[in-house]
């Protein structure tokens, strides 16, 4: 029943999904390594960007703007409280002025139908800053808490964002315009333009991240924090600033994923959770530590998902999630770690 063209189509589908999972896995690995937070709400950021992007196609003023401004105000208050009013200027710049500026631009640009690239950029610009704002509100005040407590805090943020998503975007899904309607035929394989775009953007984003980590000072500081947080602090790298930067990157990656996925499928206010969970699966197969491994794992997850949707769609999720248990066992046996590092 399965012929070559079907297999190729499934593989293509799996690789495209896997690429998006891979991006999210990157964001999760990065945030976890730097801040020990398992960023469950990354899925909501994906949904919000996708819905904003879809709304911009209709010339709507982004529904997420009030949310951005409110988060900014909250982050300002929380930051002022925690720092007892020190360096209010830069705090206000980042939490009040920047969101307001973005909102202003969005209100001006949104009705113009300025083209797909501008709309995609704008959608990311509206949603990505929410990640560092969330860091200031929820996670920065919990620097020494256990991984478990941070996880539950992340669950709290996820719940709140899901509810806010319903209030902002409503229960129905939306689908964004494709970057390209082209269809390429390569032998038995039909390659859609959007698939090419997804793979291209993912690769480009990964290359950019690699360059950032290897070539820039801020990237080096992040890597240092990820490898040894206490050591990084001793040499003068502020864990706060690293955390903020990690969340910024996570927000941008989530935003990019949202824009990439919006033309492929209908996205709902709560649809991001499952996407994020699969990214998380890939991230943890990679031991929440290795970036290339996380991407490879994400591709495997995507392909397994696609193949099992074909063979046994009833049990698709069971297969996707059960397949990781042997992988985990194998990894665990190889590492044979007695204790937990934290």
């Amino acid at each position: 029943m399965m012929d070559l063209s079907i297999l190729l189509a499934l593989l293509q589908d799996g690789v495209v999904s896997g690429a998006v999972y891979g991006l999210l896995a990157l964001a999760l690995v990065l945030v976890f390594a730097v801040t020990r937070v398992i960023l469950i709400p990354v899925g909501e950021l994906v949904s919000f960007t996708a819905l904003t992007y879809a709304g911009l196609e209709d010339g709507q003023i982004p529904e997420a703007l009030p949310l951005l401004l409110a988060l900014g105000a909250l982050a300002f208050l929380r930051g002022a409280l925690q720092d007892r009013g020190r360096s209010l200027g830069s705090l206000a710049l980042q939490t009040l002025v920047l969101p307001a500026a973005i909102a202003g631009c969005a209100v001006l640009i949104a009705p113009l139908h300025a083209g797909i690239a501008v709309q995609a950029g704008l959608a990311i610009a509206v949603v990505a800053p929410m990640a560092p704002l969330l860091y200031r509100i929820a996670f920065r005040p919990l620097p020494e808490a256990s991984v478990l407590v941070k996880l539950i805090a992340a669950v709290g943020v996820h719940l709140a964002l899901t509810g806010l998503g319903l209030l902002c975007f409503g229960p129905e899904g939306a689908r964004g315009p494709a970057f390209s309607d082209a269809v390429l035929t390569l032998g038995p394989m039909i390659l859609t333009g959007q698939a090419v775009w997804v793979i291209f953007c993912t690769t480009a984003a990964m290359a950019a991240l690699w360059a950032f980590f290897r070539l820039s000072l801020a990237g080096a500081a992040l890597r240092a924090t990820a490898i040894n947080r206490r050591g990084a602090r001793l040499v003068g790298i502020s864990p706060d600033r690293s955390g903020l930067l990690a969340f910024w990157l996570a927000g941008l990656i989530a935003g990019l994923s949202g824009v990439l996925i919006a033309p492929l499928t209908t996205v709902y206010y709560d649809g991001g959770f499952l996407i994020g969970l699969k990214g998380f699966v890939a991230a943890i197969i990679a031991g929440l530590g290795s970036y290339p491994l996380a991407i490879a794992a994400a591709l495997v997850v995507g392909v397994v998902e696609s193949l099992s949707a074909f063979w046994a769609s009833d049990f698709k999720e069971v297969i996707v999630f059960s397949v990781i248990i042997p992988v985990l066992l194998w990894r665990s046996l190889r590492h044979c770690a007695v204790g937990e590092e934290e």
């Binding site: 808490a145 407590v149 539950i152 719940l159 209030l167 929440l288 665990s332 937990e340």
Partner: protein
């Protein structure tokens, strides 16, 4: 009868007070069922340090078992209870056999995978009614009286909650409870004290599953309908949230967390429409935000805030310590032959041979990085040699794990004191005597272990007395100064009444008088026939104490002999001067 019992008995009787609003009873029922699941998580996650997202799924096993028994097969709903416990317990054993080897985050993720898979298992099984589930379950009945009223259900739930609370408390205050505490950060020490870590993990997982199964049975007969929805991943996260919010390390925290989550959700439902109008559903928003705020105010959960002086567990007082086991016949207690250990390209230990005799104090010395700690780990089963042989009391112990070594009569302390943070000083010491107790977890739950516990604590108290720390017995272990923590480690080793005692830098951090006392103690132990091997930096201390010395440098033995001979050895002098230069 203790105060928590009084409170819970009051809870059982309260519903019947005239005028008690029925809905409050319904809420209390929800709280009770959730609290039973959350108690399992206190044991599993709070105490034993294993994060689990699958408790709701295990609860589903209990609920579906109850539904099958009472509805599909038409048997007595009371038969559903053993069926529910069997189903959830068996599921936990199977899952545990596959995944409990995983460590840390891997284990947590595998429970996410199980959580998702179990949900779809329930959804896809025709016998379980697929998505619609099984409805129309009969209520429980006693002598023909149907417990259909929520107040009647409340009594069953109240009794279950009470029994679960007592059982869990009993379990935690037993030798098994101490082993479970040690799973969080004290694994190496516990293993060296003879605790089978895999067994302890499985115990925590299965115990939590049994509580979840009990809750599932109660849930099935309270709702009288079972469908997959309450047993998915999201529900699993909810229970974890309750435990963490209440205080994952504290048993009453489970009840507190469950009560807060249920009551707050209920209040929000009443309050928010008044504030925001009927057309806005902001309950999850406020709940999620409130959760974050609460955790920021109380990162260890709310219970420790309420009960600031979290009273240390009461342990039985006993006067008779356990008799010392008969000493092995062999005079050569510990013998290492040509041990090698490599880490990657680095040779940590090469060709190490030594022997320790009955009644002897042997010192292992060498400059920093000479391989002393690695040797210690090889000798005590914490690490294994690439080649070579270890004989312990005449038995080949090469490649044996730490608990097996402990069974053969070896006890050790660690260079960095590894005390279990959740336990008091004396409980840490009693952990050392783990192997000298025989009570099973079931006996512990039923309190059939009190005599043995009394003896274990008497033994522990004696060991503490010998290191001069009896006065600190009930303090939290990690509140002691570092030097004292080391002494507690020695006491823990002594509590096992070992034939061979391995001490890793016991004198570090001690004041002069304390060192004198320690030296006297060690001499006394040796005189009683124990073999003592110690690694030590303090030359004066070790030279005056040891009968013989072995000197290591770069993983090889460069000299061996009496302290006087070592003092003269040119190789030793060069090694130390070279290292100093």
């Amino acid at each position: 009868m203790t105060r928590p019992m009084l409170i819970l008995i009051a809870l059982i009787l309260l519903p019947w007070l005239p005028g008690m609003p029925l809905f409050w009873v319904s809420l209390a029922n929800q709280i009770g069922i959730s609290a039973i699941v959350a108690m399992g998580l206190v044991v599993l996650t709070g105490i034993a340090g294993m994060t689990s997202f699958v408790q709701a799924g295990l609860m589903g096993f209990g609920a579906y078992a109850a539904a099958l028994v009472a509805q599909s097969w038409g048997l007595s709903p009371w038969l559903g209870l053993p069926a529910a416990l069997l189903a959830s317990g068996l599921a936990a054993v199977l899952m545990g056999a596959v995944t409990l080897r995983l460590s840390g985050h891997y284990l947590a993720l595998s429970t996410i995978a199980w959580g998702v898979s179990l949900y779809f298992l329930f959804v896809n099984l025709d016998i379980l009614g697929r998505n619609d589930g099984l409805s129309g379950l009969p209520p429980l009945s006693v002598a023909g009286y149907r417990l259909i009223d929520v107040r009647a259900s409340a009594m069953v739930i109240g009794v279950s909650l009470l029994l679960s609370f007592i059982a869990t408390r009993n379990l935690l205050n037993s030798r098994w409870g101490r082993a479970l505490h040690a799973l969080q950060g004290g694994e190496v020490a516990a293993a060296s004290a003879g605790v089978n870590l895999g067994q302890a993990r499985l115990l925590a997982f299965v115990y939590a599953a049994l509580l979840a199964g009990l809750a599932g049975w109660l849930f099935a007969h309270l709702q009288r309908a079972v469908s997959p929805n309450p047993f998915g991943l999201v529900a699993g996260i909810q229970y974890l949230l309750m435990a963490v919010l209440g205080g994952a390390g504290f048993l009453p925290g489970a009840l507190l967390g469950a009560a807060i989550v249920v009551l707050v959700n209920n209040w929000l439902q009443d309050l928010l429409p008044l504030l925001l109008g009927a057309g806005v559903n902001a309950e999850t928003v406020v709940f999620g935000a409130g959760l974050v705020v609460l955790l920021q105010a109380a990162p260890t959960g709310l219970w420790p805030l309420l009960a600031r002086a979290s009273a240390m567990a009461h342990h039985p007082q006993g006067r008779t310590a356990l008799p010392a086991p008969s000493a092995p016949n062999a005079t050569e207690l510990l013998q290492a032959t040509r041990l090698h250990r490599r880490f990657g390209g680095l040779v940590a230990v090469a060709d190490l041979s030594l022997s320790l005799h009955k009644g002897e104090i042997l010192g292992l010395i060498g400059p920093n990085g000479a391989g002393k700690s690695t040797s210690f780990n090889l000798l005590s089963g914490v690490d294994h040699p690439d080649s070579g042989r270890v004989m312990l009391a005449g038995t080949d112990a090469t490649g044996l794990a730490a608990p097996e070594m402990a069974k053969l009569g070896l006890a050790r302390s660690f260079q960095h004191a590894r005390l279990v943070a959740g336990l008091s000083v004396i409980e840490n010491v009693a952990l050392g005597a783990h192997l000298r107790g025989t009570a099973s977890p079931l006996q512990a739950i039923l309190r059939r272990d009190r005599a043995e516990e009394a003896a274990l604590f008497a033994t522990a108290a004696r060991a503490l007395d010998r290191v001069g720390l009896l006065a600190e017995a009930d303090r939290p272990a990690t509140s002691l100064a570092l030097g004292q923590q080391r002494l507690v480690e020695i006491a823990r080793a002594l509590a096992a009444s070992p034939a061979v005692l391995l001490l890793d830098e016991p004198a570090a951090g001690l004041r002069h008088a304390e060192k004198q006392a320690l030296a006297a103690l060690l001499r006394q132990l040796a005189a009683s026939g124990m073999g003592v091997l110690l690694v030590e930096h303090d030359m004066e201390f070790v030279m005056s104490l040891a009968h013989r010395l072995v000197v290591l440098d770069f993983g090889t033995v460069i000299a061996a002999g009496t302290p006087a001979e070592i003092r003269q050895s040119p190789a030793v002098i060069e090694a130390y001067l070279g290292a100093a230069a």
